[in-house]
Amino acid sequence: MATNSALMGFVHRRRRGAELFLLILALIVGIGAYAAVGLGVDGEVPTNLIAYGGWLAALVVAAHVAVRIVAPYADPVLLPVVAALNGLGLAIIHRLDLAKDTGLASQQLTWMTLGVALFIGTLVVLPDHRLLARFTYTSGLTAIVLLCLPMLPGLGTEINGAKIWIAVGPFSFQPGEVAKVLLVITFAGYLVVHRDALALAGRRLVFVDLPRGRDLGPILMMWLVSLGILVLQRDLGSSLLFFGLFLVMLYVATERPGWLVVGGLLFFSGAAIAFRVFSHVQNRVDIWLDPFADPNGSGYQLVQALYGFAWGGMVGRGLGQGMPERVPYAESDFILAAIGEELGLTAVMAVLLLYGLVVERALRAALISRDGFGKLVATGLGAIFALQVFVVVGGVTRLIPLTGLTTPFLSYGGSSLVANWVIIAILLRISDQARRPLPDLSQEDEDVDEQATQVVKVVKEGVR
């Protein structure tokens, strides 16, 4: 499990120059999209392009300088990929703003500023990701409190049937987005201590090793929490995300497929119960199976998104040339439909590939990380990304029933954007620790008392 890099004489380079080069390209992707939107909609380059581009560049450069100073060995690809996705998302939201006469893009830019500030803050405050292991149970408790907050009367607000927001003054916030980061820390801290019990005990049935009954406690608890979110907050996406996350981390920690079998059975039984009991789940499945049953009613959103993808074709209508504003919530859940319509399959593939790269880099950091806790946190954060993208893209493209989740970094949504920037900061911290060359321990050999011991070394061969 541990990396053999030291044995192979393999040293990671810092690659900050490569990161800067990629960041410049990422800025061109973001600012280019903004300019193309202006060209497509108004026929001219937007007048505030310099100010907008300058602000974006300032944010990106600030993040880069922070990485250079406090995490010099961090992964060079994560930050640029994320910056490009965020820039593209901003441009698409701006394009929908122009069509619908709203001002979401500038709000999103404010959130991005806050996100980058928190990104830098996390890197500075957290010199070593292992410090997070101290907060295993504290963060678990905080996560559960955060998840319960929207259910408090007066504080929680219901938007589109889901009770996942809390409103404080003019701001509304989704505490679930913060909770998912905290849950990763909790799971990692718990599993790194208890994985031996979970991995070794159990009996073998046919082909799979089934875990012991008494070890089922945590997985049952997580299952109940997920069902609770589904029932009490009517949030299909988050409940799927939390349970899937726990299952992935449990599997990675114990290397036992038995957990996947148990978890899969629990998931399908939960889904079947939810399908029977709750009309909104049934509704989603009906829309998924046959969106054209009611194309102007319940199926309208999905049908319009599918038409958008079809109309976009390979290279899209061109930014500003399509009508992505037809799709309700095109700026949040359905932003991929807007990209598919105006930039075509070519851009959708690029976006999916970028998400793939983020997940790959997260798993890479997990592979080369030297401690179990870091491995599990990196895997968990990568799994959050993968699950979230799969669930939302699968929903928008009618692969699976639609569940409300944000597309990371692209969608409009402050809490999600800020939480994702923090996730990237933690991933960079883990990869920085993992890629840093091993400390040089040879100098202690020069100590006087060490010199004396060298004589004894000859004797060693005869002793076992």
Partner: protein, 155 residues
């Protein structure tokens, strides 16, 4: 704005997007295959620092203790690092365990972090179920298995 210009803008933008994706992939590629540097003794650009006298901080381990095995109860002060563990007379923690080599392992500190390093012992040094092949960071309470003995860092 003519149809052709808009078409060109669209194609140009898609090209930029893919150039970005492909450059990111090429950076990853060079990171995988291009970073094989024969590791020199010291990392470049870093002058060897004089050994700092470790200032004891709250929450930092101060001694090593044998918690299981024949010699349970033996401790050694971490201030005398590096701490040698083995059967030899020069070891700071001397173990009467048949499965321990004369110079078995040592515990050293580097920039505030404690590491355990196997010194080519016959039966290996384990952290959890993993046999050490390189210096591995250890924290408070992580159990280092040496032969039939378990050693851990304590406050």
């Amino acid at each position: 704005m003519s149809e052709l210009t808009l078409f060109l803008v669209r194609i140009a933008y898609l090209a930029i997007l893919w150039i970005f994706v492909l450059s990111a992939i090429s950076v990853i590629r060079s990171d995988m295959f291009g970073a094989r540097v024969p590791s020199p003794a010291a990392p470049p650009g870093k002058a060897p620092k004089p050994a700092k006298t470790p200032t004891p901080r709250r929450g930092q381990p101060t001694h090593v203790a044998v918690v299981q095995g024949v010699n349970t109860g033996i401790t050694a002060d971490l201030a005398q690092a590096p701490i040698l563990i083995g059967r030899g007379n020069d070891a700071a923690i001397r173990l009467d365990d048949d499965y321990v080599s004369t110079r078995h392992a040592r515990i050293v500190s580097s920039s505030g972090q404690w590491y355990v390093e196997d010194l080519g012992s016959t039966n290996g040094t384990y952290l959890g179920s993993q046999r050490l092949t390189q210096p591995v960071p250890v924290g408070l309470g992580s159990q280092i298995r040496i032969g039939k003995t378990i050693v851990e860092l304590r406050k």
